[in-house]
Symmetry: C2
Subunit: 291 residues, 2 copies
């Protein structure tokens, strides 16, 4: 690990290495995990994410099937596809890439996925177990990835003050539960757009987790000396100097690295962890269903 870098790529690589071994052991038993990926429309970033997930599957020897629907897809079409995939005995995990067009109800569709095939860990049944302090189910990939990354870097959590900025159902809310639970034992504050004096709150954090989706929103002087910073954001910022016309940046200003003891880079931090946790879920489901 490079000094000061919370290196998600390395951590994810070691998880992927172990998973590849597990997948080949399962193959000897005739068990082949199979992931279904549903994508709607032409959003470029979404296609990049889906491709990354499919190539992670390929790298592990996990079968993946892509279902690409036109931008015009209706709720009825989506529901009937999800029903088919629920009933398909070969399919283990089903994921619907977000964001979806505005007229599709993402939360309603998430609930249509069988909880046992909910590879993203977004179904209420799987989220609800987190409220019970349980981590024995299908965990949402990004907050689970953050937990694994902190564990891998041997970051002490017990009694530490964690501040999470952002209260999304995908990251902030489940992250607060996972960091608070017995066994993790951090003291967590969940901050958001209505939080007052956010700068000072962030400065109180031993562990700061930024998940707001705003480029470089967390300023360098909001970061406590010697703290651990996890940057969940992946934002595109226009950059005329680059051939592709943009650069990727996180929710934390890069100069925060001067104060932080450890900070996750963007890209190469939480992103690869999310994918590794998705693969972990896919293998977990296949073992439960097919072994």
């Amino acid at each position: 690990m490079v000094d000061g870098v919370l290196d998600g790529r390395s951590c994810a690589d070691s998880i992927m290495f172990d998973l590849a071994k597990e997948v080949s052991e399962l193959a000897e038993l005739g068990v082949y995990p199979h992931l279904a990926v549903v994508i709607v429309g032409d959003d470029a970033a979404s296609h990049i994410y889906v491709n990354a997930k499919e190539s992670a599957c390929a790298r592990l020897g996990i079968k993946s099937s892509k279902f690409a629907l036109p931008e015009s897809a209706t709720m009825v079409e989506m529901e009937s596809l999800i029903n088919e995939l629920n009933e398909d005995i070969d399919i283990d995990g089903i994921l619907v890439q977000s964001p979806l067009p505005a007229w599709l109800d993402e939360i309603a569709l998430t609930e249509k996925i069988l909880p046992s095939k909910d590879v993203d860990g977004f179904h209420p049944v799987n989220l609800g177990k987190l409220v019970q302090g349980r981590v024995d189910g299908l965990l949402p990939c990004t907050p689970h990835g953050v937990m694994k990354l902190l564990e891998w870097a041997e970051v002490e959590l017990t009694g530490e003050r964690a501040v999470i900025v952002g209260r999304s159902r995908i990251v902030g809310m489940p992250q607060a539960l996972m960091l608070s639970r017995k066994g993790a034992d951090a003291t967590v504050t969940l901050a958001h757009s209505r939080t007052e004096d956010l700068a000072n709150l962030c400065r109180s954090a031993d562990i700061l987790i930024a998940a707001v989706g705003k480029p470089e929103f967390i300023k360098p002087d909001w970061v406590k000396e010697g703290s651990v910073v996890v940057d969940v954001g992946v934002n595109r910022v226009t950059d005329e100097n680059l051939a592709k016309g943009y650069r990727l940046t996180g929710d934390v200003h890069p100069a925060a690295a001067d104060s932080a003891r450890l900070i996750s880079p963007v890209p190469g931090g939480v992103g690869p962890m999310t994918i590794a946790m998705l693969m972990t879920n896919a293998v977990f489901i296949a073992k439960n269903r097919k072994l």
Copy 2:
């Protein structure tokens, strides 16, 4: 409202008054809510709670049926009773009074209850909706009661610092989600037994919610001047001077009332609210199922 008192009894009474009207309107439409209450063994406190719930039903004109099992009840017996109640078309809500004997797996039994009949709001499906920031489902009664009590007393939540002490699946965890969500907008810190410097953390709270189950655990000087204190604890403390041999006390030392702007008493604070929210859920289920 008595000055300085967060009067759960009055608030609950006004909710019960509205519910009674709703129940009689439903009766005119031929809809009769019906609650099933399951209790195991002879724990005196549990029987007191169950009686309180049954008399709340009686007060509203809600039918209740008690299923009292001996201390020796097995998981198989409990599951078969829950299945029967799930399938009974007349039963709307099913609640299993806790605590259960140690050999009964409370969480596993909770999952056996149909989510649509989960009147306590403890099923993972119902808890999971809270992680999604939703409050359109069956909400867990105690944290929901706390929210209603704060709303009734016109306590401003937006941007306020809330500290919850205790991370149970029944109160602390769901309370954190409910106070944090969009529309409630408090900045919540969830504290627990591994939290360091709890006294100072409590002193930072505009709204302090104590749910640890330890008598008078929160000391008077932990309470910020002018803050709002909600005491969820109901603890029995031996008192030889009383005929019954004990008195009830909360998780907060009574002298905290000197600093707090508002404080909920024990008894007469959160307790009646919990029951009013249970009744609210029972009526909600009956309307969904029978109307």
